[in-house]
Symmetry: C2
Subunit: 329 residues, 2 copies
């Protein structure tokens, strides 16, 4: 049996009240008793039962983090950054992999509530916004519009879309295709598409939009990509994420379409992983660290003060373009 507060009291030869006072550091305490208690805690390897503390009114220091897919390097890096931030602030993370499955997301949401998490960071949503409104907990969201009063952090998707499209144009492309995950209009990542459309129009070009679902298997995605490449119509492709861009590069190579001379490609996300293992890929780099910092910052503010409000609930962080070989001219 795990030692409890009364065991520590007995060991230290003081009252339970005193032990609690030492742990929570309030009231009058002499150095001597403090040390006695600390020593007893050490010897028994005692840790206060979080459940009991939290039940009594203290925070749980648990944060629920919901993402669609942790095996996607972008989310892995985001989660890693969030975890770092949370850890430094004394919070622990319950990771929920929703897998683009609304039932799972719903179950996780209920579980997080039941486990009395102090707050939730969500980077996915396939649920009715209503479900999130019912939660009654501090929430912040990454790249998803949930509700009026849920802060939403994202990179400047529109700016990224412009930069990417312009890069292709300036590298000489005149028939620029868009490959991307089809999204609802309210989804901020949809701004990448919007920016693409606006930008090609600005240059007097036509938009060619192709939907490729994230959730689809890479094999399936590859087939769609291949079909498109076989038409040999595009001289530039803007992919809404790097993994799709890599697929395009792969299929292009198989079809002996030379990049960047015959076809230029640019992606989106710019994970460290890709920067290291695919430095040739031009891409739009999301400021993952800054996103994680802002998400946790906003959430913690809300936890400390539930009435915490900012003028706006939309936070767009600037992206950077990484020009490399796949858009060289």
């Amino acid at each position: 049996m795990r030692p409890k507060l009364t065991d520590v009291a007995k060991k230290a030869g003081v009252s339970p009240t005193t032990v609690s006072r030492v742990i929570n550091n309030y009231g009058y305490l002499s150095e001597k008793t403090k040390n006695k208690v600390y020593q007893a805690i050490q010897e028994l390897n005692y840790r206060p039962n979080s459940l009991a503390r939290s039940l009594q009114g203290k925070q749980t220091n648990l944060i629920g983090v919901i993402v669609p897919d942790i095996t996607n390097p972008f989310f892995a890096e985001l989660v890693s950054s969030i975890e770092k931030e949370l850890f430094n602030k004394g919070y622990k993370m319950i990771l929920c992999n929703a897998n683009y499955d609304s039932r799972k997301e719903q179950e996780y949401l209920q579980m997080l509530i039941a486990n009395q998490v102090d707050g939730i960071i969500t980077g996915t949503h396939n649920l009715d916004i209503e479900e999130y409104n019912k939660v009654g907990l501090p929430i912040v969201s990454f790249d998803r519009t949930l509700s009026e009063n849920v802060p939403i952090v994202s990179c400047d998707n529109y700016q990224g879309g412009c930069l990417a499209t312009e890069e292709l144009y300036q590298s000489g492309c005149r028939h620029i295709d868009y490959f991307g995950n089809p999204q609802s209009i309210t989804n901020p990542t949809n701004q990448r598409l919007k920016a693409y459309e606006d930008t090609v129009q600005k240059f007097g070009l036509k938009a060619h939009v192709h939907a490729v679902r994230f959730s689809e298997s890479p094999t399936l995605k590859a087939v769609s990509v291949r079909q498109l490449l076989e038409q040999h119509t595009a001289d530039g492709i803007f992919c809404s994420d790097d993994l799709t861009a890599l697929l395009v590069l792969q299929e292009a190579q198989k079809l002996n379409i030379h990049v960047p001379t015959q076809l230029k490609v640019i992606g989106f996300d710019g994970t460290k992983l890709n920067q290291t293992y695919h430095p040739e890929l031009s891409t739009i780099v999301q400021p993952v660290k800054e996103i994680a910092e802002l998400l946790t910052e906003l959430l913690c503010k809300r936890i400390e003060n539930p009435d915490f409000k900012t003028e706006t609930n939309q936070f767009k962080l600037p992206v950077k373009i990484l020009r490399s070989k796949t858009t060289a001219h």
Copy 2:
């Protein structure tokens, strides 16, 4: 304020005891009252407070998962598989990114205990084994030796090492180098090295072992790799993980060393990510799904029955070789 059991009772017009009976499904209950209660639960969006339940003696259904680095695709896939398994069994995961930092690992361990997790899966350890013995909770380990009575699951690292080395030899390599993360002898992944040494010896070749730390930055790793390649001594390299193998391929290309004609390369891990985006890389594929299944299976057995024992505490799962272009001849 979140509704509680008594609120549900009031709403349904029954006693708190009855509500509890409905939730926990025991004693005599009429369909009518059950429905009344269910409806009240629905209307109030009530969830029993996990903290209170667990404090009362029920399980927390929380499992701590400790890994060194979630941004490493291998661990991302492992964590993803573990999460799937746990979710299906009704458990939730607290993800701990230890970052090769023993202080952080220690803090996380304490936190998991304080949060009364039902069990721990650990895939890293930089702590004294003693720390883990003190835990007094069901633990299972991936690829790390913790203690006599902690089950340890890993792929058959030795078999993998043999397969990899043999593959290089059979593809014609006669000067085979080993690039890997230096490990303590007790670490099961060290068996990859052992297998390499045994196998080259079997073929009458000399072993050439080069240490490259996982925890080092890719840039630093790349430098070591480059230095080695510049010597142009090896005609085959066995890397103890795929990421290092990719680095070797990259540096080889920069130095105009052609793979596989001048140099053959084989990695280890075989993540889905690499299989998709680097199908050219020959590698040893770890059975991630099976590892995750076994880990959770063993842990759950221990949770249900703390005295659960198996004849052995070492579980080695067979690996598969994936022959591809980087070892073609």
